[in-house]
Amino acid sequence: MLKVLAALIPGIAVYVWFFGAAILVQIALASAAALAGEAAMLKLRGKPVALFLSDGSALVTAWLIALTFPPIAPWWLTVTATLFAIVVAKHLYGGLGQNPFNPAMVAFAVSIVAFPALMSQWPAVGFTDFTAQMAVVFKSQSAQDAVTMATPLDALRTSLHVPEARATVAGVLGSHATFGNIGGKGWEWIALAYLAGGLWLLQQRIITWHVPVAFLAVLALIAGGFSLANPERYAGPVFHVVTGGAMLGAFFIATDPVSGATTPRGKLIFAAGAALLTWIIRSFGAYPDGMAFAVLLMNLCVPLIDMGTQPPVFGHKGGMKGGGRQ
């Protein structure tokens, strides 16, 4: 688990560069809340507290929550969401190893349903002044348009869902000079940093290639297909892959072993399903980024996927009686 945290650091560094240091405060808030919640729950459940705290799973959840929430989300939202993830999504289901849903994604989904406005107030590009950001985070004053803006995905959704506006992908993305070249300003660089961390995890054999490859490939394929057919309505594959939570999700969220599929084929199906749902929610849904819902929906299917994708056992491979693979 500590290696997972280490692999997130490059992404966080780039994040700070583009969106300011508020994210570090959010990470600290979430970590503190997660550790406190975990310790309290372990105590209540009569488990050895120190032993379980040192495994780092609560911190991973906390960091993922901080990284998927807007950096200028009010402090109480981050703390409540993290506590919800740890207490309800994790420990009420039996604690480490028993939770059917990814706790960080449960927190995200609950928060975006409960506080849609707060969950979409991202700092405007250039709004990296730390004290100003802290003012938003801690005074819980409603953020002004001056300091927030819609994410590229959010902008696309709100514009394209209104037929009369006759907006096009190129038009929306082009109208905001600050969105950057590919996935929105800053987003593509953060995504690249996540990619670097994810590749390191792969090299360390913490995760296998199945989930990231299947997720990114399927997302790119669908996005590419639709964008070719109707480039005005659908954004292109590169945009989809590097924007929003796609890269973080591919390497750090959908790869969660506890709530994900475990067989090789199961992992491919799980990731492909998550990618498909992500794209559908992004393109047609009411929420800007579908990563959290997609992962949760696929979490639901994991027992079925695992059962249906049992790999053949030594000596029981059909049609190879007495033979074998070369």
Partner: protein, 564 residues
Amino acid sequence: MLATLFKFEGGVKPDSHKDESSQAPIAAAPVPARLVVPLRQSAGNAPLPLVQPGQKVLKGEPIGAADGSFSAAVHAPTSGTVLALEPRTLPHPSGLSAACVVIAPDGEERWIERAPLDWRSASPEALRDRLRDMGIVGLGGATFPSHIKLKPGAAGRIETLVINGAECEPWITCDDRLMRERAEGIVRGIDILRHIVSAGRVLVGVEDNKPQAVAALRAAIAQSHGIEVVPVPTRYPAGGEKQLIRVLTGIEIPYGRFGSEYGVQCFNVGTAYSVHRAIEIGEPLVSRIVTVSGNVARPGNFETLIGTPIDALLALVAPKADTDRYIMGGPMMGFTLARTDLPVTKAANCILAASPALFPRPGTEMPCIRCGACTRACPAELQPHELYWFARSKNFGKAQEYHIFDCIECGCCAYVCPSNIRLVDYYRFAKTSMRALEREKAAADAARQRFEFRNLRSEREAKEKAERLAAKTAAARQAIAGGEKPAAAAMPAAPEQAQALPQLDEAKKALIAAAITRAQAQKEGVQPKNIDNLAPEKQAEIREIEARRAQVRELAKTPPEEPV
């Protein structure tokens, strides 16, 4: 000709720790003061004891005869006197006892007459029987009787013979030393095995971390054709029978099937060597090479008589002061010995002294996070984390569905588990529980069948009896009606019945009385049969028994006292 190598999935690469014990040549362990030889030293039926306390035995004399074909004989490891035939604790994870022959050696090591067998002219059946009676079992640890594995299977002929010199478990070097020092004997044994099954080719698999063993074997087979020594990549469990067959031939043998069904069979190098001793010299399996290593001052390999107490072996290697337990077998598959006064058996390939520094106890067991490390390490390509789930929740049906019996208990999954879960313990629990349930079910089914059959039989008997009775009564009535004397017509009746029927007419009473007298006469007349040709002392014995019976009969006649 170099065979193409195949690959098995999974596996781990623990530190080999072979150098500690592989440097010194095999030394002979001295004959101890007492030998405790368990009768049961192979898979299958326990042999039937052939000796009695007080009896003198010679080295190599059979002390237990194979019981049926799925069994192997046991022999006296040295000459001496049988002190006892009694249950003694076995070196087994259960710590339970079973029948053992305790022998006090006389120190003379006098052999029985050893007769070599000309195997080239002997039939495979004769050779197989000889191996069974020589107590030859698999020395890799499973102690499966070798003669059974040499029977041709459904495939007709065993085309390929695989000889297992991989020795993949860390620390163990008994096969390594055997191959280096006695390669010629191994090759001769291989020739015999090959002759029995008339195999076309022989592949000797040796892990490539044992170059001297490979060289020694190659030198020894210079004259033998069709035997090939193949170095295999060093990766635990390359020495697992199924894994080695897979690596050398590409054939995968599922659980519950014999290699011979697929035209391939596998024997350990130690087994091959003991086959050579048994057939060409006439020596039964009375000793084996045991690696004694770990936290000791003088690790090494010892030619040890079966039945030697482990203590005696440990005295030769001087365990260090911080040794906290002893392991029989290797660190991956072995088990911790509860005591060290237990005997060395045919299965004992290694005794390890463990210290907390050399063999750290696994850390605290944490929850499974389904990380999949076990799946990647499993050489049987199972889903260990799923099996763990099922075994833990005693969901045995599901465990079987996920092929728990294909698990070879190699320990790779537990070795790589980041949560320190002792997975194999769960599988062993599940497997033995399932076998017990199966036994119970078989017994219950048999009981049900026997109960139903018995009910059927007693119904039928009652019916037949009633019919017979009706027929006879009718016959007797006719006879009385016809004015005949009520004489010979038989009618089963007991004295109680006679009293219970006072209203019967005189004729009937006479009938009953006649029957009773007849029955009593019959009772008195019962004599033991087949006693004419018996010796006088036997006859006396019979008379004694008769007297006792009469006494009991008397007792039975006196009304029993009311229970208080």
